[in-house]
Amino acid sequence: MVNEVCFRTLHCDRPWRLETYQSEGGYEALKMILAEKTPQEDIIEMVKQSGLRGRGGAGFPTGLKWGFINRTAPGEKYVVVNSDEGEPGTFKDRDILRYNPHALIEGILICGYAIGAATGYNYIRGEFWEPYERFEEAVTEAREAGLLGDNILDSGFGFQIHTHLGSGAYICGEETALLESLEGKKGQPRFKPPFPAMFGLYGRPTVINNTETLASVPDIVRRGADWFREIGVPNSGGPKLFSVSGNVVRPGNYEVPMGIPFAELLEMAGGMREGKRCKAVIPGGSSVPVLPGEIMMDVTMDYESIEKVGSMLGSGAVIVMDDSNCMVKVLERIAYFYYEESCGQCTPCREGTGWMYRVIHRIENGTGRQEDLDLLDDVAKKIMGRTICALGDAAAMPVASFIQHFRDEFQYHIDHKKCMV
């Protein structure tokens, strides 16, 4: 069960082409819906039954999200794709855009049909020039084939997709900051509620989903909710793309069933480089708590299992580190990232991220003080849960977890003014 959904075309020559996608059953789901005039609520129900959860990191049930839209409300509704893949360690959406853009287009169309929208936007990370062009090509192909545009396949259903390239801000991956940015404003998260389902793009009801989430939808419709759900484990339906990086032999994207043991995933990636010990793993992108390698070896890759050991599945970015890594230095780099990427709106995040980075930087450079570890813990605690969006939490969680699991390394830095690695 590898590369079954989002990467289904990957084994083909030129997998991004329309004919390749169609040869693998592509657009059949859309054609079926349009031919049978499937009721909207049936599609939403199907997505609910599939157990599909948001693949961007938060893991919110997708069908539920679609169900929040008031389909009978007059006026525009929108589908927005979050392809602003900025989470350090994550590179799965990039490859969907590059190798299977039509799955995403079909997913957008099905979503649009299900919620009664006629316009979709794909917000692509600013650095993704090649994926952007690939996706645009696919949009053109679909439009020329009559699969996109006005009156698709003579069904009376019309839908337009616009592609937007971001400008390099991590925060614009936060869904409401993305909407602000798409509207031409400064990318800053909105206070919620109201949620985008009520007040989204241009104040209209909006479904905003991650690229992988929407690209999974066609197969759910075509092969059934049960088929999809049964690939995974309870509460974690379907396969998931894991971006494995770090000190492994074959870093890359692996689409495998949810619930696969971490050890097995590591093996698929060729195991640890030079046979070294797996010291630590960040299992879901830089924003989630780090876990020591020995804990990870007993964990399966699904939402609940990882939560049980104190971390999160996040976006599925698995960063594997061997014992040549200094955890203080790793944390310094991560803290620097959040310091640079905080939007500056909320006080705790704006001020706290810089504070934490500076203290860690000091420890790394041999001028740390004994009280710094408690200070870091306390500052992280004061950011956690006190901000409008999750970036504050994302900045705080690594700090707290690195100190929790690798306190001795920090202590060594403070005591000996140098690294133990």
Binding site: T347, C349, G354, G385
Partner: protein
């Protein structure tokens, strides 16, 4: 209504209201920085975090709607811990040098830090330093102190309608600034000073002048427009240090215009008239009050009443206007007028009983359609314009017929820009489109006229407002009759928005030749301002204005007043007065006298004197009262301003604002297209002597200077180079002005306001002129 429990206390709140609104109403203090009741909620400062039962995390009170039975704890350990955490973050990068900060002592951050801060900082890194930008002469910046609450940013977009300040950069690098280096030019910009919770934005003119605790705070009424914004005057040792808004939801809400905020500076100009002066052997000499008053009384008594002309400023207090009218009428003279900016008096017989705005101030915000005729409302009446802007954000339409494409801070649905001589035709076009009386003007309505007519008739509530340009127009009476007809036909209200702060009061107390106090008809009537100039009087008695600057036709005014005997009650000594006045009596200006101003909606607002007038100057009402005694008139025995006011208001009992217009007999337009037409008007920072002397305001881009504006084609037709000079000749007067190319000006027109330097020798604001290359 819902009932919630806050800190064990049950309070009721409006359903859907934010928690902080409910706690504020109940007098429960929740600390905050970004929240302001007139701005959108952004919930970014995180200072107002409180504990709400069943919520796992502390919630911002400013963005949490109340719900029935909600239990809130603003001082629980969870809430305190969150509030203290935010305070620690706010302080780590904030300079802790309050002793040298201008905000020290009245700083929200300082105050809240007293309750939620710690006395020792755990932050030992370097603090952030932010480069300052020069954003003009009104607002001083010290951006290192900024705590990024974004109140100033939201104010720009939501209230001023001009996004001048913005947040650039992310995270710790986020800074508030103007992005492209230019000054902040909104006429409401000073409000960001009050909004700023720290010392990042402070008032430049009063910076480092006084500490908050050294100043006494007095209530006052702003005297520079027809709204009468409520203000607080901050005084130290008999000197006004600054002016800030005083909240009045019905008028100015929590804002004031820059003119009202910084106009006080004009009180401290060097040319204040401080001593009574009397002309002896051809030159003005300082004399004592007794001499001056006796000379004045003698002159008044000696002059044949019909040969006297009395002119009183529309911005003088109700008491001054009332006593002037009583004095002049007591002498047997009816020649009194306050309409100093008006040239067309043909409508006098049709004048309404008490002209006013036609609506309450707050009603302006509820209008679905507003037609501005000859009005740059944004600059003339900034706070009234704010209400109109509110109507636009609620979907109302605003249309204009103006001689210049004036810039507004909202979009105009229809903007008819035409030469002044065409304005009556344009307005008649709207009347024709509505089927209202066009007063004999033949016009075929075009698309714009129809659009205006449709919008007005479709509006459930609307208005037609005539501005200062219309008032100064040679065919004001026709514009007014057309406007009234349009309003009646479309079922909307109408009003005249003059530039004085007490126009309404002057009408009430009979400071017009054809009305006595209380609005009754004067029998016999006297001469209006225009007639007093056309048939010069022997003696002019003027109160509170500058004949060269505050009148519609400076050339005619100075000619008539200069040739006659002139008694001037005023606050400033100009070179012209020095040459031409015979007696000058120094009176206290704004805040130096008690008084009353009646605003455009008819609300009489009383204020007290808060500083002593300079030198020998005395409150105007006292001077007038003594004059009444000296000319042996009854009814001049008041002991304080309150008694004068009581008598004035008693005389007006039963007089209610009423715009009902009579029929004009003369409706023949006087304007005809000339080779070149002048577009007058009064720049916002030239409306009165005090504002013209307010240094900081005069250094802003809104100060006009000796400048004439022509459009590109007009300048080219005259062979004028950009930034060269032009000579403007009007009647017998002529003066040179710097040329500015401005394509908002229609062809064949020169935008050259009155009351700006160099225009003293010229004639009325509107009319034919000649323009030459220098």
């Amino acid at each position: 209504m819902v009932t919630i429990e806050v800190d064990g206390q049950e309070i009721t709140a409006v359903s859907g209201q934010m928690l902080i609104e409910a706690t504020d109403a109940a007098g429960i203090n929740v600390p905050r920085f970004c929240y302001h009741k007139h701005l959108t909620v952004v919930a970014n400062c995180r200072m107002c975090l409180v504990e709400v039962e069943k919520a796992p995390k502390p919630l911002p009170a400013c963005a949490t709607p109340v719900s029935e039975g909600m239990k809130v704890f603003t001082r629980s350990p969870m809430a305190r811990e969150a509030q203290k955490g935010t305070m620690e973050f706010l302080l780590i990068n904030h300079p802790l040098d309050c002793p040298i900060c201008d905000q020290g002592g009245e700083c929200e951050l300082q105050d809240v830090a007293m309750g939620y801060g710690s006395d020792v900082s755990r932050f030992s890194e370097r603090k952030r330093v932010v480069r300052d930008e020069d954003i003009g002469t009104l607002i001083a910046t010290d951006m290192t102190r900024c705590i990024h609450c974004t109140r100033c940013v939201r104010f720009g977009g939501e209230i001023a309608g001009l996004r001048e300040l913005g947040a650039t950069g992310r995270g710790e690098h986020m800074r508030i600034g103007v992005y492209i280096e230019n000054s902040v030019v909104s006429e409401l910009s000073g409000n960001v000073i009050d909004l700023c919770p720290v010392g990042a934005l402070t008032a430049k003119p009063s910076r480092y002048q006084a500490r908050a605790w050294e100043m006494a705070e007095y209530e006052g009424i702003a005297p520079h427009d027809g709204l009468g914004s409520n203000i607080h005057i901050h005084v130290r040792r008999n000197q006004i240090i600054r002016v800030v808004p005083r909240e009045n939801e019905a008028l100015n809400q929590t804002w004031i215009s820059d003119r009202d905020r910084f106009g006080y500076q004009g009180l401290y100009s060097e040319d204040r008239l401080q001593q009574p002066m009397l002309r002896e052997n051809g030159s003005l000499k300082v004399v004592d009050w007794q001499q001056a008053l006796q000379a004045t009384a003698r002159l008044l008594k000696e002059t044949l009443p019909q040969r006297i002309g009395a002119l009183v400023s529309p911005s003088a207090t109700l008491e001054e206007q009332f006593l002037t009218a009583q004095l002049i009428r007591g002498l047997g003279c009816q020649n009194i007028d306050h309409r100093l900016r008006q040239v067309d008096f043909r409508g006098d017989a049709a004048d309404p009983r008490l002209p006013w705005l036609g609506q309450g101030v707050t009603d302006l915000a509820g209008n679905r359609a507003t037609l501005l005729v000859g009005s740059w409302l944004r600059k003339d009446q900034p706070m009234l314009n704010h209400r109109v802007r509110q109507s636009v954000s609620e979907g109302g339409l605003v249309m204009a017929i103006n001689p210049v494409a004036y810039a507004f801070n909202y979009d105009l649905e229809v903007d008819v820009v035409c030469a002044p001589s065409s304005m009556i035709n344009e307005l008649a076009g709207v009347a024709a489109a509505l089927g209202a009386d066009t007063l004999g003007i033949t016009v075929v309505p075009d698309q714009a006229h129809q659009a205006i007519a449709d919008a007005l008739s479709a509006a459930t509530q609307g208005t037609v407002l005539l501005g200062t340009v219309a008032i100064m127009h040679p065919d004001f009476s026709i514009l007014r009759a057309l406007a009234a007809g349009i309003a009646a036909k479309a079922g909307v209200s109408w009003g005249v928005v003059g530039s004085g702060s007490n126009d309404t009061g002057a009408w009430m107390v009979g400071a017009v030749p054809h009305r006595i106090a209380g609005g009754g008809t004067a029998e016999p009537g006297g001469m209006h301002f225009g007639a007093m100039l056309a048939e010069p009087r022997d003696l002019y008695f003027t109160v509170g204005f500058d004949p060269e600057m505050d009148t519609a036709d400076p050339a005619a005014t100075t000619a008539a007043l200069g040739a006659a005997q002139l008694i001037g009650l005023g606050s400033y000594l100009t070179p012209w007065l020095e040459q031409h006045a015979d007696i000058l009596l120094p009176i206290g200006a704004f805040a130096e006298t008690a008084g009353t101003l009646v605003n455009l909606e008819g609300t009489a607002q009383v204020f007290q004197g808060v500083t002593a007038p300079p030198g020998e100057a005395r409150p105007g009402w006292k001077v007038l009262r003594v004059l009444g005694n000296l000319v042996d008139l009854p009814g001049f025995d008041q002991v304080d301003a309150a008694q004068v006011r009581d008598q004035a208001l008693a005389a007006c009992a039963g007089l209610a604002p009423d715009n009902t217009l009579g029929t004009s007999s003369d409706c023949a337009p006087l304007t005809a297209p000339g080779d070149w037409e002048r577009i007058g008007g009064v720049p916002m920072y030239a409306v009165d002597g005090q504002v013209r002397r307010a240094k900081a305001l005069q250094e802003t881009p809104d100060a006009w200077g000796a400048v004439a504006r022509l459009n590109t084609q007009a300048a080219a037709a005259l062979g004028l180079e950009p930034n060269s000079a032009v000579r403007v000749t009007q009647g017998t007067g002529s003066a040179e002005f710097a040329l500015r190319i401005d394509d908002r000006v229609p062809d064949g027109c020169v935008w050259l306001p009155i009351a700006v330097p160099g225009t003293q020798a010229l004639g009325p604001g509107f009319g034919p002129i000649t323009v030459n290359k220098v």
